[in-house]
């Protein structure tokens, strides 16, 4: 409660402060509407300016300039987000404000996207294809009221294209990319092809169908590939080879106020893991032969989404979505015989899977009076999850591994009101109540304020709450024998979060035609009852159990500035994040220092268009400052202690040149990703007892170049 009052206080303080400072801003430029339409967190699609939430938009143009093929390529440049890539299973996940992808929710057209282990959370960014995207909208902060569970650090909503102004729209593209300095047609590098056809049958019916293939041949680095026979850890790849296939289709019908669409999306992926361990087979008296225990991960995702929007009683607006989604990751283990290059003992089984039936709907526009609007909504989620025993540590008392199969359901109702006291001042309170099958019922509340000052200044304030539900590892891990005691905890409660944000934005339009937009935001967030694996006993052996014990606090000040003049476009952003974490080693009576540890991020981009040549030059740069974190460890005498782990700073730069030919029908983009040639960043930490830790954190595979050819054909 104390925090709440404090935040309200600072909120009002900030508002009055901006109201005051606004007096001094005497520019002579005229203001005009900036018509960027957003849908995330809104009752109806509306202009960004009118939104009570502070919505960040990544435009189609940004995606094109980065020649981004998946979400990972784009988010590398986004302020406050960093991306973590795993070399062992090839997944890339998001980390925001130092919290991992379990706290960040990714949606497609307002419906959370399924992943191997979550709904909207724990998404592998490389599995989110960007082919048919209109724009990406991001709201930072706890968005529990509008988006339910696990929307703790923020949400990302991918808005796909659902119409076209042409009768026919045909696109085909091919992209060839080096992986660091490795490239060969077929066997090295990254090879992407995609095609899409959209057709408007008449003014009501629209359909689109598309497909793409993304073949990442892996990054060798110092590794020697799959046919290497020495047992010195050099077999395999530094980044795993991965092939993805995507197919999607949409059919939509629009008439007057009525709209319905059905969207289908298939995603298939094959990731090859080549074991660095080469196993010799004794063939005495003949020479040894060799094999490796290799495996491949095969993922399939099916996404169906039916959405309808319209009017009831010529007054109420309804918007209902029903979605069925399933993602499963199979693991196929096999022995690869190095001499004969044959696979033997192939065994395929499901590794992790998630099947979801999801529906959400809302009614709005209850009143004729435009100064008040009310939204009444529901969300129903039925998830069926499966974890193979080898996907975690799941054993029974006889040390036999066991699979985990569980169903989770939640049925939520939510309501929000938007009260426009004046044209300038809007208030938006909201509430959600969630009935949970597995956990205690949850609720979330939110309050948003928006005030439009003159001179294009917009001020917003919001507070939001959300919660994160425990995952399977935290609930069901079990490994107990005479030397080990590692236990999940079925009595865990969801973690709860609160976030507070005040932001002010100013748009300035100069007579010269120059446009300037400035944005300043201050955010505070805390997460309570954080779940972590706690050391509960030291003697005679160490016992661990997942418990709701830790605390997390974060505050963030960020400022972004965008400038456009004639053919120039520039953007710079700056964010300072302070994170405080209290890690509690219960049994040892030891808690970590919870002081705020700060890190700085800067992102920027500049683009210049040469109309005469039909050519656009762009460059993107992001600086990630040094990140610090306390982690628990043991000293030389085996006593527990906390040490400061530091991730060195690094920069990420992408650049591209795009040129159009033949009335924009043909487009060539050449560019470079990761110009600063980052591969890994040093992570320094102490040593822990017997096992030495501290290594480099894998970030990228170094500077690579791409060439993308796109053919666009639009006609009526």
């Amino acid at each position: 409660m104390q925090i709440n009052t404090k935040a309200y206080l600072s909120l009002s303080l900030f508002l009055s402060l901006t109201a005051f400072s606004q007096e001094k801003l005497q520019d002579t430029t005229k203001t005009s509407q900036l018509e960027e339409v957003v849908v995330t967190g809104q009752f109806e699609p509306q202009s960004l300016k009118k939104s009570v939430h502070n919505v960040r938009v990544i435009s189609r143009e940004d995606i094109k300039r980065l020649a981004a093929n998946n979400l990972g390529d784009v988010l590398n440049q986004y302020l406050n987000i960093s991306i973590r890539t795993s070399g062992s299973d090839g997944r890339s996940t998001v980390s925001m404000f130092g919290l991992d992808s379990q706290y960040f929710k990714i949606l497609v057209d307002n419906v959370p996207l399924v992943s191997d282990t979550g709904l909207g959370t724990n998404i592998d960014l490389t599995q989110v294809n960007l082919d048919d995207i209109e724009q990406i909208e991001i709201i930072e902060g706890s968005m529990g009221v509008t988006h339910g569970a696990n929307a703790v650090t923020g949400i990302l909503n991918i808005i796909t294209k659902k119409n076209s102004k042409y009768k026919w729209e045909i696109t085909a593209s091919a992209q060839e990319e080096t992986v660091s300095d490795e490239f060969a047609f077929f066997d090295k590098g990254r090879h992407i092809q995609n095609a899409k056809i959209s057709h408007s049958f008449n003014e009501n019916w629209f359909a689109t169908i598309g497909g793409s293939r993304n073949d990442f041949a892996g990054f060798f680095d110092k590794q020697e590939g799959k046919d290497y026979m020495q047992n010195d850890g050099k077999r395999g790849y530094s980044w795993l080879p991965k092939e993805q296939l995507v197919g999607n289709g949409l059919i939509g019908y629009t008439k007057n106020d009525f709209r319905i669409f059905y969207k289908f999306d298939y995603f298939g992926e094959n990731v090859d893991y080549y074991n660095p361990v080469v196993i010799p087979i004794d063939n005495y008296p003949f020479p040894d032969t060799h094999f490796s225990n290799d495996r491949r991960y095969i993922s399939n995702r099916y996404y169906h989404h039916l959405n309808s929007y319209g009017k009831l009683f010529s007054q109420l607006n309804y918007n209902v979505s029903v979605s069925h989604q399933k993602q499963s990751r199979d693991i196929e283990k096999f022995n690869y015989q190095l001499e004969s290059e044959n696979e033997t003992d192939n065994a395929r089984e499901t590794y992790q899977s998630k099947e979801v039936i999801y529906s959400t709907g809302a009614l709005s526009n209850f009143f004729k009076d435009k100064s008040v609007d009310l939204q009444l909504g529901y969300e129903a989620v039925n998830e069926r999850g499966f974890y193979d025993a080898t996907a975690g540590i799941f054993k029974d008392d006889n040390q036999q591994v066991k699979d985990i199969r569980k169903r989770l359901e939640n049925y939520d109702i939510f309501t929000a009101a938007e009260i426009r006291f004046t044209e300038k001042f809007s208030v938006r309170p909201g509430l959600r109540y969630s009935i949970q099958s597995k956990f205690e019922d949850q609720y979330a509340s939110s309050l948003g304020l928006r005030y439009l000052f003159s001179h294009g200044i917009e001020a917003r304030g919001s507070l939001g709450k959300s919660y994160r539900t425990p995952n399977f590892d935290e609930l069901y891990t079990y490994f107990v024998d005479s030397n080990h005691d590692l236990q999940g905890n079925e009595n865990l409660i969801p973690e709860t979060s609160s976030s507070y944000e005040v932001s002010v934005k100013k748009a300035t339009y100069f007579d010269s035609g120059a446009q300037l937009s400035n944005n300043l935001a201050v955010t505070y967030m805390d997460v309570d009852d954080r779940i972590s694996l706690i050391l509960t006993q030291v003697v005679p052996f160490q016992s661990y159990k997942y418990m709701n014990i830790d605390k997390y606090k974060m505050w963030n000040i960020s400022s972004t500035h965008q400038f456009a003049y004639k053919n120039w476009n520039a953007k710079v952003g700056l964010a300072l994040v302070g994170i405080s974490q209290k890690i509690d080693l219960a049994a040892l009576n030891l808690t970590s220092d919870d002081k705020f540890l700060y890190s700085l991020q800067v992102n920027s981009n500049v683009s210049y268009n040469v109309p005469k040549w039909n050519t656009l030059f762009s460059i993107y740069y992001k600086f990630n400052g040094k990140q610090q974190q306390y982690i628990s460890s043991t000293d030389v005498n085996n006593n527990a202690e906390f040490i400061l782990s530091e991730l060195e700073s690094y920069g990420w730069m992408d650049a591209s040149i795009r040129k159009s030919f033949f009335k924009n029908q043909f487009e060539v983009t050449v560019g470079a990703r990761n110009l600063l040639d980052i591969t890994s960043v040093q992570l320094t930490q102490g040593t822990t007892g017997v096992h030495v830790t501290g290594s480099d954190l894998l970030l990228g595979y170094g500077r690579s170049y791409f060439l993308k050819l796109t053919y666009n054909l639009n006609f009526n």
Partner: protein, 469 residues
């Protein structure tokens, strides 16, 4: 417009048909032929000599073997079937066979000190190439093995067995790890060891009264870096560094020891790739007091809460390193072969990491230090490896007094995987081999060829060795 469509379609077709062309060279290696072992000692009048093929033969054929003799004559001391022509044998073989043999008939016997043998060499074969292991030495009497490939039957991932290997005879003796608790030294010292393969620990108490009730002390339990270094036998293996002090002739000096009996191996198989050698039930607690009884030992022992005790006289036997005793079966048990009849012991082991941290290892190999065997490790270099190493390369100073010179050095339980991250996996280290001197002075080179079976289950160590000469 039509033209454009065709253009696009061809682009699409081009793009999607571009699939990976994995070249498959099938790795065709021809069949090769070799002797199954490089030496054998004749014990019977007729001994079959095995010749093996690397793969079943594709067609019938024959192979030629030449021989050279040492102090024996064909026809007088031995014959072969099929018979030799001069110093050459021709052995026919059928299609689709993996081995073929000829019989060696011993006609005369040799005295123990004689050196009498026949050396056979495969010279050529139809439809098969001759492997480098194309020689066998057939000895008329006992001679040290020239080498072979062996597997130590430690019993799979829970490693319930201790396996004693005698390189010169190829002998292979097995005992259950849980069959014994204490070993009473057979040499001149009066010392008692505890069973480190079970993670046992012994703590000296102040009292000499075995009937005093004791309580368990959980700080003695060896687990994940826990435990007390002074409560285990020093892992280097010197008899003067046992956890239990030397047994004194003066009974008042022989204190009671609190014994943690360690852990049983798991009763059930662990998941593939894991080991369960110490994840069974706890073996509980005992108290013991050991006294001298003439030139033998007397043990007093009981459960820790007992107020009475049992006693047993354990006699010394100088042919063995130790006389073994089980506190659970209350009997003397047979474990090790005679002290000069084994070189290596495959076992689990309580080692020290750093000066003070007891640490438990499965897959350990102990050298018979007390029986007089020594070993050391050689890392492969550009010029020196298992195949090129000869007697001239042996460095005698490297045979140090430590039974752990093989230890766990032959394997690792993690490796560096993609992205430089550690991967937990059983890894055979193929960058090294070992040199072993047996109690009789034979020097062998030995390389490990596996530790897990083809299914990935641990606890199936295999190795090859060859006599250096």
């Amino acid at each position: 417009m039509k033209k454009n469509l065709i253009f696009i379609l061809s682009l699409v077709v081009l793009a999607f048909s571009a699939c990976n062309s994995d070249d498959d060279n099938g790795g065709s290696s021809s069949t090769s032929v070799a002797f199954g072992v490089p030496s054998l000692n004749l014990t019977e009048a007729t001994t079959p000599v095995q010749i093996v093929f690397s793969a079943p033969t594709t067609a019938a054929g024959s192979l030629n073997i030449s021989f050279a003799t040492t102090a024996v004559t064909y026809g007088t001391d031995f014959t072969t079937a099929p018979a030799a022509t001069g110093t050459t044998l021709t052995i026919p073989y059928a299609a689709n066979v993996s081995s073929v043999s000829f019989n060696f008939n011993k006609l005369t016997n040799a005295a123990p000190t004689d050196v009498k043998n026949v050396k056979f060499t495969i010279t050529d074969a139809t439809n098969a190439s001759v492997s480098s292991n194309n020689k066998i030495q057939v000895n008329f009497n006992e001679a040290a093995s020239l080498g072979q490939a062996l597997a130590a039957q430690v019993g799979g991932p829970n490693q319930p067995n201790q396996v004693y290997i005698d390189l010169s005879s190829g002998g292979n003796a097995t005992a259950l790890r849980t069959s014994w608790d204490l070993g009473f030294y057979g040499g001149s010292d009066f010392r008692v060891v505890i069973n480190g393969s079970l993670k046992m620990a012994a703590k000296q108490l102040e009292t000499t009264n075995i009937d005093e009730v004791q309580v368990a002390d959980e700080s003695m339990i060896i687990s994940q870096g826990q435990g007390v270094a002074s409560q285990i036998d020093h892992p280097a293996g010197l008899i003067t560094q046992t956890a239990i002090a030397a047994i004194s002739a003066n009974d008042a000096d022989n204190k009671v020891y609190l014994i943690n009996m360690g852990s049983n191996p798991s009763e059930t198989a662990p998941s593939t790739g894991s080991e369960g050698s110490a994840s069974g039930s706890s073996r509980g607690w005992k108290k013991v007091r050991i006294l001298k009884s003439g030139n033998d030992y007397k043990i007093q022992y009981a459960d820790i809460d007992a107020t009475t005790h049992e006693e047993k006289i354990i006699s010394k036997n100088s042919a063995f390193n130790f006389t073994f005793f089980s506190l659970t079966s209350k009997n003397v048990v047979n474990v090790e072969p005679q002290k000069n009849q084994w070189d290596l012991n495959f076992t689990t082991f309580t080692n020290l990491v750093g000066p003070t941290t007891p640490y438990y290892y499965p897959d350990f190999v102990v050298t018979n230090l007390k029986g007089g065997a020594r070993s050391y490790q050689v890392l492969n270099t550009e010029t020196l490896n298992y195949d090129t190493f000869t007697l001239a390369n042996v460095v005698n100073a490297s045979f140090t007094e430590d039974q752990r010179n093989i230890g766990s050095n032959w394997r690792s339980t993690s490796t560096t995987g993609p992205g430089g991250l550690p991967v937990s996996a059983f890894v055979l280290k193929t960058d090294r081999f070992f040199v072993i001197k047996d109690p009789a002075g034979n020097i062998y080179k030995l390389k490990f060829t596996g530790g897990a079976n083809a299914g990935g289950e641990r606890g199936y160590p295999t190795f090859q060795y060859a006599l250096l000469q």
